[in-house]
């Protein structure tokens, strides 16, 4: 039995310890906002926060999250929209939307670490794949989110 703290809720899961967090979230708990994209840590669609750090959940054994705090897209703006989510709406970022949970979680982690990320920071940190080509809008939205977070 794994005991996991996800979005502030305690979940007791009877699963194999090596089950990737991605599938624990999606299939055990029903938090489907975290997406399966590649299963190999290459695309970032499954990005969540573990103890505040952006983490690709498809490669993270659920047992490794025991004793840690896990935040998913559903928890990010649960009380009120996060600055990144607001900026995403302002900048009209999503197209198909499938990668955006991961993009937003990556961006939230970035601006938590760097209050005013540069374009180079964004290039280096925002490595999630988007097939719809929302990168220029993501870049603008990350800058905007950094401003909103200061307000």
């Amino acid at each position: 039995m794994l005991v996991l703290n996800i979005n502030g809720d305690i979940h007791r899961l009877d699963i194999e310890p090596e089950t990737p967090m991605l599938w624990a979230l999606r299939d055990e708990i029903g938090l489907t906002g975290t997406k399966f994209g590649c299963g190999a840590g290459l695309c970032g669609a499954c990005t969540i926060h573990v103890d505040g750090v952006a983490t690709r959940s498809c490669l993270l054994p659920a047992s490794d999250a025991v004793g840690k705090t896990v935040l998913t897209i559903e928890g990010l703006g649960a009380k009120r929209l996060h600055a990144v989510q607001k900026a995403w709406i302002e900048a009209d970022v999503p197209q198909c939307g499938y990668c955006q949970s991961g993009q937003i979680m990556a961006a939230a982690s970035l601006i938590a670490q760097k209050s005013a990320p540069t374009d180079a920071d964004i290039d280096e940190t925002m490595t999630n794949i988007c097939r719809c080509g929302t990168y220029p809008r993501i870049r603008a939205a990350v800058h905007r989110a950094a401003e909103l977070a200061k307000i």
Binding site: I15, E16, T19, P20, W23, R26, D27, E28, G30, L31, T32, G33, T34, K35, F36, G37, C38, G39, A40, L42, C43, A45, T72, I73, E74, L76, G77, L81, Q85, W88, I89, D92, V93, P94, Q95, C96, G97, Y98, C99, Q100, S101, I104, I122, D123, E124, M126, T127, N128, I129, C130, R131, C132, G133, T134, Y135, P136, R137, I138, R139
Partner: protein, 724 residues
């Protein structure tokens, strides 16, 4: 998740005979993340009346408007742009508009109220606009008539505005919500005229997408997010060599694993079913499988490449033979000739293919994202042995389409597995299955020749292509004239003025399945033609922009785009050392797009596309914001392919397997992208989902030539050595 089972509450179901107003209380479809009505439409549904003609508009008593969207939302913005078209005529407050998918089952059973729901060919606005305007106009006119009848005044004395009908003379007004039940009983003869573009108020404005809020908080439901009671999961292995067969498997090796339910042979492969997807996937990886690869196990891309090049020597079928090209070549002052090559490409939408099917002897329910809902229903029905009338498709948001979700191989397998295990099954392809079992953009070779006159301008072109037949690969019929349009689009309609044009093609299929990939034939043909024009311009010693201007003198629409592009894209202006601009212009799906790419090439040969300026003539624009987003999208989709994209075959199977070797442009690769308009208006309504893609590869390749002097004639660029 029991939402799927909750019957939708309709308090009123009166429907008029004449056109599209249905009055009901609707579940807030987008508010709960599911774009489809909770309960699928059926002939017995209280929402349905036998005399209904169309069903796009629902007005709630609280004055909110539900508009049904009969095209699939895969990121291209149809949920917003199609709703805007209806709302334009309806004269309602767009902020109070909600949308949901129209029912494909209803379309199939009820006489096509939504016409074709197939989503592709950049056609949603182009092919739906008139009947969507009509649906909105019809609803508005009947709401006015209802108010006029209530007040005992003539309808011409009333106006509809912002979701209410107003009688200015008496100062009375009534909101749509209160008028709707009466309006629904009114028949109109004749149907009202629809607005002309100069009357538009909503169309042409920048409207935020209606689906954005759901896509920033994880609420949007894609097919892969489906959860239905009693559901089990399937992972599938398709035969590694296309057209190979499953010989045997050893179920005993995995039957004791936790959660294991069954091994089920399916079309093209074998599925493992378990109580969780992860367990199914792991069990499949441990399953010993024996395949019969067949003859194709010897095939490889190097052979294909040689075969396609050889096929350019003929025999060819003529798609165009206009003027006297042969004489022009005999009398030419100079002949320019070049061969271009394009590889197979995977679509790789971010959401891996998946389908959830619940087969029962008399009914199938399907949850997935598909570009062709009616075809999905027919496929499920045929596979499951159920009348199509009893197949209910719950279309979801598509996590990218780009053509891939036009043919639903995953659905056939999901129905097979559900039937075998007697439960609802969510079948998910891994990324490896997606990359290795796509239906690919065809590989192609092209030979382009130009006969130049003494003035340096071409007098004739001869274009040849050898390419895989999409129609043959899909088992679809070739048009009666024997010409496969996808093979020659972008070649046959080359806009440049010449005296003679000859376009020939050789269709040459391998065992690799091929299909529609964003912009289809234009994706490779524009690369060849627009690179070649650049070559010809250089051979003639002329500027690439001025050269095109001279050849486009009969095409004011092209010239308008080209001139604005050159202006906005700083053509001819200084640029930093080691960088240059490249230009390309192409018409596809009724829309002309020109692009200028600013490209830097380092001493080591590293290519960096820094800025792309696009200019668009799609005639009219429904939502400029969405057009900009689609141009950005088209540019980046094409840029990924230009820089990195290639699927190669070795021993009959695809060599690439995931994003480490099927690379996708990322943030650091992404240029600044600017979109400008040179709209010709008039009767022209062009598509926008695809036309941004074709020009980017030649624009980048032409810029690279300008920097390095090296001509790129084969994609992707990563295979070219550009450094010292």
């Amino acid at each position: 998740m029991t939402a799927h089972l909750t019957r939708r509450l309709f308090v009123t179901s009166s429907l008029s005979a004449a056109g599209g107003l249905m009055i009901a209380v609707a579940a807030p479809a987008l508010a709960n993340g599911a774009p489809l009505a909770a309960e699928p439409w059926s002939p017995e549904s209280p929402a349905h009346a036998a005399d209904e003609i169309n069903a796009f508009v629902v007005v709630d008593p609280d004055n909110s408007i539900l508009i049904r969207i009969a095209k699939s939302e895969m990121g291209q913005g149809v949920m917003t742009s199609l709703a805007m078209i209806v709302a334009e005529e309806l004269e309602c407050d767009f902020a109070r508009v909600r949308v949901e998918y129209a029912s494909a089952n209803r379309n199939l059973v009820d006489g096509n109220p939504y016409q074709s729901m197939g989503t592709g060919g950049s056609s949603s606005v182009r092919r739906s606009r008139v009947f969507l305007q009509q649906a909105g106009a019809s609803a508005r006119t009947r709401l006015i008539a209802a108010a006029a009848a209530r007040w005992g005044v003539g309808p011409e004395a009333c106006v509809a505005r912002a979701g209410s009908v107003w009688h200015e003379a008496s100062g009375r007004s009534a909101a749509y919500g209160e008028l709707a039940p009466e309006a629904a009983k009114i028949s109109l003869k004749p149907e009202p005229a629809i607005k002309t573009p100069e009357q538009f108020k909503l169309i042409g404005t920048r409207a935020a997408r209606l689906d954005t809020p759901l896509k920033v908080n994880g609420e949007a439901k894609f097919g892969i997010d489906t959860r239905v009671p009693d559901m089990v999961y399937a992972a599938v292995a398709n035969c590694p060599v296309f057209a190979g067969k499953l010989k045997s498997f050893d179920e005993a090796a995995i039957k004791d694993r936790r959660g294991f339910i069954a091994v089920v042979p399916v079309e093209n492969g074998v599925a493992v079913v378990a109580d969780r997807f992860w367990r199914a996937k792991e069990a499949l990886a441990a399953l010993p499988i024996v395949w019969d690869f067949g003859e194709a196990a010897a095939a490889n891309s190097a052979t294909f490449r040689a075969d396609y090049r050889a096929a350019l020597d003929g025999p060819l079928v003529d798609a165009v033979d206009r003027g006297d090209a042969a004489s022009a070549f005999l009398g030419a002052a100079k002949i320019v000739e070049a061969v271009y090559e394009a590889p197979h490409l995977a679509h790789a939408p971010m959401e891996p293919l998946n389908a959830t099917a619940h087969w029962r002897p008399d009914r199938i329910d399907v949850w997935m994202g598909t570009q062709f809902p009616e075809e999905a229903i027919k496929l499920a029905a045929k596979t499951g042995g159920v009348d199509p009338r009893n197949v209910h498709l719950h279309n979801c948001f598509l996590g990218g389409g780009f053509g891939r979700r036009s043919v639903n191989d995953e659905l056939r397998q999901a129905v097979q597995v559900s039937k075998a295990v007697g439960k609802p099954v969510k079948l998910v392809w891994t990324r490896e299955e997606d990359i290795q079992h796509d239906r690919y953009r065809p590989q192609a070779a092209l030979r382009l020749r130009a006969a130049l006159g003494p003035d340096g301008l071409p007098k004739a072109f001869e274009f040849r292509t050898a390419v895989g037949s999409i129609l043959r690969s899909l088992g679809w019929a070739t048009p009666a004239n024997g010409i496969e349009p996808m093979a020659v689009e972008g070649l046959s309609n080359v806009p440049y003025r010449v005296d003679g044009l000859k376009v020939g093609f050789a269709l040459k299929n391998t065992h690799v399945p091929v299909m529609f990939w964003r912009s289809v034939g234009s994706s490779q043909n524009a690369f060849a033609v627009e690179s070649f024009i650049d070559e010809v311009a250089h051979a003639a010693g002329k500027d690439a922009y001025e050269f095109r201007r001279a050849l486009l003198r009969d095409r004011p629409d092209f010239l308008a785009v080209l001139d604005k592009l050159a202006d906005k894209g700083d053509w001819g202006k200084p640029i930093k050392k080691g960088a240059a601009r490249g230009l390309a212009i192409h018409e596809a799906f009724g829309t002309i797009v020109g692009e200028i790419a600013e490209v830097a090439v380092s001493d080591k040969g590293e290519v960096r596309v820094e800025r792309v300026v696009a200019c668009v003539d799609c005639g009219h624009v429904v939502n400029p914001l969405n057009v900009e987003m689609q141009i950005e999208s088209g540019v980046l989709y094409g840029l990924t392919a230009a820089l990195f994209g290639q699927i190669t075959i070795r021993d009959g199977r695809v060599e690439q397997s995931n994003f480490h070797d099927y690379e996708i442009a990322r943030m650091a690769d992404s240029p600044v992208i600017e979109t400008h308009f040179a709209l010709s208006g008039g009767a022209k309504w062009g598509g926008i989902g695809e036309p941004g893609t074709p020009p980017i590869a030649p624009a980048v390749a032409n810029a690279i030539f300008a920097v390095t002097g090296k001509r790129i004639r084969s994609l992707p660029l990563k295979n070219s050595t550009l450094g010292a």
